[in-house]
């Protein structure tokens, strides 16, 4: 069950402070990385919401993210809408697509759910890859960023945009935390722990799962809109399953079912990758070895391990291990 523990609050505040300090001290490339981390953190939070708390491990969040990016691009470039309407479109698009996937896949579990989401994600990828309307494999250029000059913000400035994305990531965290503390979130955890029992208690489980997946997709769609504005360009590569795979790595690396871990995982993966890439072209191997080491060292992920150690200090009862719960057959 999710608890916004003092440890979590502290970690979030620390991360937010670090992001702001970094934004004012780093160079242009650092700002690119920060923006990337903030955007990926939103998708990772979205993924942790369903995978870590709902037990729905998805391999289509890259596709949801991509759908959001394309929705923003189509709304602003093809339809000529404003940035705000574009963002709304991205949230709606990601949410609607995810709701559909969730509704259809709700009956499947475990590896079958993973594969069902993979199938839908890859279908979306193939669609955008082949669609002349959206530029096919070349993607869509010419995307403008949201105009917040009225509020005194210049998003075309790298620092302004990085901070904007950081704030949205923070809001995404707050939203996810609120949702997980609500009845909706409690029930979601109940479904993960024992889906048949939840049904026997009168919950229309598929509807709840679809709603949760849709919410997650809406968040992913928001991140997609930010990504589209960040690069001012969208391409089908965003939807590819390997993007979903990397998102899953972030969440697990940071600590599945800890929410803060998703943010941490996004940051660690992006920065490790870039740091390693400065020294070798073979950064894949380093990332791979880091992943293996993470699992061998307990499998809780970074923040999961921190919470575990914190809990062992006797301050609090530790969170239940972030593995799939199974019905009690004692």
């Amino acid at each position: 069950m999710f608890h916004q523990t003092p440890l979590k609050t502290g970690a979030v505040l620390l991360l937010a402070t670090a992001a702001v300090v970094y934004a004012f001290t780093t160079g242009f490339f650092g700002l690119e990385l920060l923006t990337e981390v903030a955007i990926l953190a939103i998708v990772a939070i979205a993924l942790d919401l369903v995978a870590g708390y709902g037990g729905m491990v998805s391999l289509c969040h890259g596709a949801l993210y991509g759908v959001g990016a394309y929705a923003f691009a189509s709304a602003t470039v093809l339809l000529g809408w404003g940035g705000g309407a574009g963002m709304a479109m991205a949230v709606a698009g990601g949410g609607a697509f995810a709701w559909l996937i969730g509704a259809v896949s709700a009956r499947t579990h475990g590896i079958f759910f993973i594969m069902a989401t993979l199938a839908f994600g890859q279908m979306a990828y193939a669609y955008f890859f082949d669609s002349p309307l959206f530029g096919g494999s070349d993607g869509m250029p010419g995307i403008a960023r949201l105009d917040l000059s009225g509020a005194g913000l210049d998003l075309n400035d790298s620092r302004g945009y990085a901070l904007f994305c950081t704030v949205l990531a923070l809001l995404a965290y707050a939203l996810a935390a609120t949702l997980l503390r609500s009845g909706f979130g409690r029930t979601l955890v109940g479904i993960r722990a024992n889906e048949p029992r939840m049904r026997a208690l009168g919950l229309p489980v598929w509807r709840h799962k679809a709603a949760a997946f849709g919410t997650s997709g809406a968040l992913a769609g928001l991140a997609g809109a930010l990504a589209a504005q960040h690069t001012m360009y969208v391409s089908p590569g965003l939807l590819h399953w390997t993007v979903s795979g990397e998102l899953l790595i972030m969440v697990i690396l940071g600590g599945l079912g800890t929410l803060v871990g998703a943010v941490l995982g996004a940051g660690v993966l992006v920065f490790v990758k870039h740091e390693v890439a400065r020294f070798t072209d073979h950064w894949h191997m380093v990332v791979g070895l880091v992943l293996i080491a993470t699992v061998l060292s307990g499998g809780r992920g970074i923040f999961g391990q921190i919470e575990f150690l914190w809990g062992r200090r006797g301050a609090r009862r530790p969170e239940p291990a972030a593995t799939e719960g199974s019905p009690d057959h004692a």
Binding site: V57, V104, S105, R107, T108, H109, G110, I111, F112, M115, A116, L118, A119, F120, Q122, M123, A126, Y127, F129, D130, W241, T242, G245, L248, I249, I252, L253, L256, D281, H282, H284, M285, V287, G288, L289, V290, L291, I292, T294, V295, L296, G299, A322, T323, E324
Partner: protein, 290 residues
């Protein structure tokens, strides 16, 4: 236009050839899934390893058959190392951790291939014995492709015999049906797992060596084949030989005839099929356990 009977016979053979390649890969994956409850995403990388080792072996010995012999053995050896170092202790670590570790392995293998064999795609010659084409039923067909079909059928027959007639097979079947029960019967489950894992790896290596003369050998071939193989396994149902062959045939035929009849939809067809199967049969067509 000569889209007559011979055209469809050739396309059917194409579909069978693709099915058999998929079968060689997916059967190992599905049995490891079913028996060890282990999600090995690096299975595709083992296939790529088989292809790379095959290229080197055949270049070194000057004969295709060196690849055919060496690749399965080499990949099985790597499988032993993986099993002892990782898989054994990951078996009870939950699917998420397994996914993460084997994802990490994919990355490691990717760069090992780059370091060992470079970035440029490689090729491998067909064996002289099966080069050229064979004429039958009024059609002409590449002999090597017939060899692949034959090999797939031989492996299928051997595995079904192994499963139905031998003690090992009985244990494996019992283990897939109910792992706890097999353990209760005092069977050394650990050793059976080990043998099955190595056999699965050897088959992946064999598939790599067999596919190399038809395809190009590239560093990303393992990741590229992973998804179709997973699709086969999931459509067929985890852990069943019947599921693996049914899934392979289904995907092989859908992909081939999709390419012929509706090329624009070919890219989506396999995923659409997967989605439909999962909606109608959430545990695949032939799930091994109730």
């Amino acid at each position: 236009m000569t889209a007559d009977a011979s055209f469809w016979i050739v396309q059917t053979l194409n579909a069978l050839q693709l099915s058999m390649l998929l079968f060689l890969l997916s059967v190992g994956l599905t049995v490891i899934f079913g028996l060890l409850h282990f999600v090995n995403l690096a299975h595709g990388s083992l296939y790529a390893l088989g292809a790379f080792v095959g290229v080197s072996a055949s270049a070194f010995a000057g004969s295709y058959w060196a690849a055919f012999a060496v690749a399965p053995v080499a990949v099985a050896l790597v499988g032993i190392v993986l099993y002892v170092a990782l898989i054994r202790r990951m078996r009870n670590a939950g699917p998420m951790n397994q996914v993460l570790v084997t994802f990490g392995l994919i990355f490691v293998f990717l760069d090992l291939f780059r370091l060992g064999w470079g970035d440029i795609p490689l090729g491998m010659a067909e064996p002289d014995l099966f080069s050229g084409r064979t004429e039958f039923l009024g059609i002409v067909y590449p002999t090597y492709r017939l060899f692949i079909i034959g090999l797939g059928l031989v492996v299928l027959a051997a595995l079904s015999l192994l499963l139905s007639r031998t003690q090992l097979g009985a244990i494996v079947r019992a283990g897939v049906d109910n792992g706890d029960m097999a353990a209760c019967l005092g069977i050394n489950v650990e050793r059976v797992f080990f043998v099955v894992f190595c056999l699965g790896c050897a088959l992946a290596g064999l598939a790599g060596a067999v596919a190399a003369p038809v395809l190009s050998v590239t560093t990303d071939m393992g990741t590229a084949i992973l998804i179709p193989t997973l699709v086969v396994v999931v459509i067929g149902g985890l852990g069943s030989l019947r599921g693996a062959i049914a899934g392979s045939l289904l995907i092989g035929f859908v992909q081939t005839f999709g390419a012929v009849l509706a090329p624009q939809a070919a890219a989506v067809a396999v995923y659409a099929l997967l989605a439909v199967v999962l909606i109608l049969r959430p545990a695949g067509l032939f799930p091994a356990r109730g």
